[in-house]
């Protein structure tokens, strides 16, 4: 499986995502520069975290208008799997591939810590591997200042009805996001945006290996 890791100016989890994806047997990840016009030939596209364009104006806003976005849009429309993590999630909402918006954490501070998540839909190409685990609770790290997911109530109903909410914070909600949302897919289910960082949970020495399952699911 060939995976693209898009590099925007200011992305800083690109390297982590590249390492994580390549760590999984059967996945080959490659960097793709933000000015590139094509994403043809990739089976999946990874949009990394970080601070693209320094998060100027709004997190993800400038990256969502970068040249490569046309190709990303095309790929998403044709069913290619797209995973946006943290800043990647913000970019996907900013460009309209995912509904809603991510704004400032309700506590107003950046938060970096491990959170408990519930996998609320295991029937997606990203989460199928979480089925059959004794618990669908996973532990992943969050690291963001703007992860407070917001949308209008119609959108929320749709998300709920279609099973588009894939990850929810369980226990406490770190950023005030509506319905404890930590990650959602588009209607078709091939685009996932999530605030927690699975690429930071690939082995026990990192504190958790729960993120690995997500990449393995994507591959399978």
């Amino acid at each position: 499986m060939r995976c693209a890791v898009i590099v925007f100016p200011g992305s800083n989890c690109d390297y982590d995502l590249y390492k994580a994806a390549n760590y999984i047997e059967g996945i080959q990840a490659e960097y793709v520069w933000y000015t590139s016009k094509s994403l043809d030939g990739f089976d999946a596209i990874l949009v990394p975290g970080g601070f693209s364009y320094g998060d100027a104006l709004r997190a993800g806003a400038l990256a969502a208008r970068a040249p490569i976005l046309k190709a990303l849009q095309r790929a998403a429309d044709s069913g290619t799997r797209v995973l946006g993590i943290c800043n990647g999630f913000q970019i996907l909402t900013e460009c309209g591939l995912l509904p809603g918006a991510l704004h400032r954490n309700s506590g107003l501070r950046f938060i970096c810590r491990t959170v408990n998540l519930e996998v609320s839909n295991t029937a997606t190409p990203f989460t199928s591997g979480y089925v059959g685990r004794t618990s669908t609770h996973v532990r992943l790290e969050i690291a963001h200042g703007e992860g407070n997911y917001t949308c209008d109530s119609d959108t929320l109903h749709k998300l709920e009805d279609n099973g588009q909410i894939v990850f929810r914070y369980s226990g406490d909600n770190p950023n005030g996001s509506v319905a404890n949302i930590a990650g959602i897919t588009n209607e078709a289910g091939n685009v996932l945006g999530m605030m927690p960082h699975p690429e930071r949970a690939m082995a026990d020495w990192m504190g958790s290996s729960d993120g690995r399952i997500l990449f393995e699911s994507m591959r399978d």
């Binding site: 104006l57 709004r58 806003a61 400038l62 208008r65 909402t93 900013e94 509904p99 809603g100 918006a101 704004h103 400032r104 954490n105 309700s106 506590g107 107003l108 407070n148 917001t150 949308c151 209008d152 005030g176």
Partner: protein, 82 residues
Amino acid sequence: MLKGIVTVSLKQDVLDPQGQAVLHSLQTLGFPEAQNVRIGKSIEVWLEESDSQKAESRLKEMCEALLVNSVIEDYSFEIVED
């Protein structure tokens, strides 16, 4: 040169935690008359353009293309001489 001043505010039904925090601080700092606070952005854009009508329509395009996220934000603007 002309300058556009865009005021971007959060839509009314979107929570503004920062505004709430500032409101709280104002009240404890001895400003009980402060009833509510909302925090938005003020974006100044200098334009190489002398026709103010043209400037207006271009500024509007900029707002829609980039400056404003219509999912959660509203905006208004004015054009002034600079």
